[in-house]
């Protein structure tokens, strides 16, 4: 074949592995050929586990370090189970980056709301890195994060260090608490009414289960955000990443190409249609 197939991945080595929760791990990857993989916050890679298959996984590290790729993977099926179980020194193959990005630069001068549920914090963490790297260019920055329980929170140490900063508002809530939890209990949208930001001049970036995003959008609209100030990251069955396999369609969109990040103005009614 004269041209290299876009479906042929490159090999990467696992250099670190961090357990996030009981079923979720973050892998730090370096390319065998040493070439960096530049990416924008919100984009994803297709990760291949030997003999098992590929899965789309968000880039969850710092875009300023394209030689050190971070992927947070939850073992939810045979492929992600194999990926999440890889140990330092082991290999996988990877292609990307694919998909659209969060409007980080476009939000300069504004208040930024980063709102995540569960694993949804993974594709938003690169946004937080970017915002903090140019902190002076943004207004208030609010991170609202929720998980089912305290054991389901990702990046716990990092959340705690962000929370200690004076130039960042971080609120964390869990659906169900245990005895060791002294924070908020409730769903993420319940944090929105009391978050401090200027609705007329804010941008919200939201990622989580679809039902969480629907209620979050409702709460944001209630606070006075206009639909065009809200951006969501969607999940569909992305198999090829290059808009050729058809699996990730959502009405007019091929989520792997047109998304995963889409402005709410383009999604609006589509999310209310059952099984679209």
């Amino acid at each position: 074949m004269s041209i290299r197939s876009s479906l042929l991945p490159r090999t990467f080595r696992v250099v670190e592995r961090h357990e996030e929760t009981a079923d979720t791990a973050t892998l730090v990857l370096e390319a065998e050929d040493g070439a960096p993989l530049e990416f924008a916050p919100g984009q994803f890679n297709m990760l291949y586990a030997f003999g098992r298959g590929e899965a789309p996984i968000s880039l969850s590290g710092d875009p300023a370090s394209p030689q050190r790729l971070l992927h947070t993977i939850r073992a939810a099926g045979p492929v992600t189970e194999a990926l999440a179980g890889l140990r330092p020194g082991e290999h996988l193959a990877l292609r990307g980056p694919y998909g659209s990005r969060w409007p980080v630069e476009e939000s300069e001068g504004k208040d930024v709301l980063v709102i995540a549920g569960g694993l949804g914090l993974a594709p938003l963490r690169p946004v937080i890195y970017r915002l903090l790297a140019a902190r002076e260019r943004y207004g208030r920055i609010v991170v609202l994060y929720g998980a089912r329980g305290p054991d389901g929170l990702l990046y716990r140490a990092e959340l705690e260090s962000w929370r200690s900063r004076l130039d960042l508002e971080v609120e964390v809530t869990v659906d169900h608490a245990n005895g060791a939890w002294h924070g908020d209990v409730g769903v993420v949208p319940s944090l929105i009414p009391r978050a401090r930001f200027s609705p007329a001049d804010a941008v919200a970036m939201v990622c989580g289960p679809e039902v969480m995003m629907r209620f979050t959008v409702a709460a944001l609209l209630e606070r006075g955000l206009a639909p065009e100030q809200i951006h969501l990251s969607l999940e569909r069955n992305m198999r090829c990443g290059v808009a050729q396999c058809g699996h990730c369609q959502l009405g007019p969109f091929l989520v792997c190409r047109d998304g995963p990040v889409l402005p709410y103005t383009r999604l609006g009614e589509l999310l209310t249609i059952h099984e679209l």
Binding site: M1, S6, V242, Q249, G251
Partner: protein, 383 residues
């Protein structure tokens, strides 16, 4: 009737039927593998053709919703059959392809792509609807930021000889979709069969490319005159009049996308078996899935790509289960994709009006009928 001067691109000529063998020979001499229509297993299939008599001479077909029969019509017509269940898609966008293989050892993981010389095909007897379908698949697989090298390698070397339609089948509606019955461009050569079963039986040949024009140099021919051109126009007009189906495409995107909760979707779902036949016979349906396997020693693995169908339950599987559980949702996805959201995604319609999905649906579901039913009780407010 011998060649007196070099043919020029854009000119049209007349061939006697027996001269068609010289054309086939010239195509083979250029190094192409010809694929054309032939009768096999009681249907028109597309396979290797090198002799004129391999074509479905003297056959015709009956096509209706859920019904396909080849019948002998007798006579000398070369192109008396419409499209069968097979389509050129099978040759350009293969049903099963090895993408790459991986070797694993202690030192790591090495991936390699298969080495293959791309086949150089000449498609002979391509119907205008199917030519339009190839152009649509080009927009998905050969264009864009990540062209598929497997598709593109086969497509780049392709020669197309169109057979314009002079009659139409019972499930045809290319005239509604603007893709036929006569191809205007995008071919190397286009044939229109004139006066079959008479002493004047002939083929009008239009040249559409330099490659096509060059082939005619070795083929006995004469310049086309007004009677042949007039008859070709007449035959095209007759085919339009015969067309068994029609589809009202006015505002079809708005009409369908404004009726996503129309009761008709549930009604058609009671008939639809979700078998996926329509997606397999469709010449534009491009969806694929990937399959992974390896040896028992876990040293060698392969990744293949196979045609898939949006009618399968697993098509939209996420960790929480499939998105489109109901057949209602899957039929709605397929039809709205063909007729509406394809425009959003790729800038064209996804339907060329070939009628295969109607003919080969085991229960005879007809998307022109479904679309008309929704239009007839358009649920958008203010209508």
């Amino acid at each position: 009737m011998d060649a007196v001067s070099e043919p020029a691109r854009g000119e049209s000529f007349v061939l006697e039927p027996r001269a068609l063998q010289a054309l086939l020979d010239a195509i083979v001499a250029e190094g192409y593998q010809i694929r054309g229509p032939l009768v096999r297993d009681h249907a028109v299939c597309l396979d290797e053709v090198t002799r004129v008599e391999q074509l479905p001479v003297g056959w015709t077909d009956e096509q209706e919703g859920g019904h396909y029969r080849l019948t002998r019509r007798g006579g000398s017509a070369l192109f008396g059959c419409g499209v069968g269940q097979d389509s050129w898609k099978r040759l350009l966008h293969r049903p099963l392809a090895l993408l790459w293989s991986a070797e694993r050892d202690d030192g790591g993981l090495a991936l390699s792509e298969p080495h293959e010389e791309p086949a150089r095909f000449a498609f002979f007897g391509v119907r205008p609807c199917d030519l339009a379908a190839i152009n649509i698949q080009d927009g998905i697989l050969a264009a864009g930021r990540y062209p598929d090298p497997f598709y593109r390698a086969r497509r780049q070397g392709l020669l197309t000889v169109v057979a314009n339609c002079t009659s139409a089948g019972g499930t045809c509606f290319c005239a509604s979709m603007g893709t036929g019955p006569r191809a205007e461009s995008g071919f190397d050569l286009a044939l229109t069969e004139l006066w079959p079963d008479t002493a004047n039986h002939a083929l009008l040949v239009e040249t559409g490319s330099d490659a096509g024009t060059r082939l005619l140099a070795a083929v006995p021919r004469r310049p086309a005159g007004d009677p042949e051109r007039r008859e070709a126009d007449e035959a095209t007009r007759r085919a339009v009049e015969q067309m068994g189906r029609r589809l009202d495409t006015s505002d079809i995107h708005g009409m369908l996308m404004g009726n996503l909760e129309h009761p008709r979707w549930a009604e058609v779902a009671r008939r639809c078996l979700a078998c996926g036949n329509c997606t397999l016979v469709c010449p534009t349906c491009f969806c694929t899935n990937f399959e992974d396997g390896g040896d028992l020693e876990l040293r060698h693995a392969e990744r293949t790509r196979r045609w898939d169908s949006c009618f399968t339950l697993g098509f939209t599987r996420l960790h929480g289960g499939p998105v489109r559980r109901k057949i209602r949702s899957r039929y709605r996805q397929w039809m709205t994709h063909k007729l509406a959201t394809w425009f959003d995604q790729f800038g064209t319609s996804g339907c060329v009006g070939c009628g295969r999905c109607i003919t080969w649906c085991p229960v005879g579901i007809d998307l022109t009928e479904e679309s008309a039913a929704i239009r007839a009780s358009d649920g958008r407010s203010g209508r």
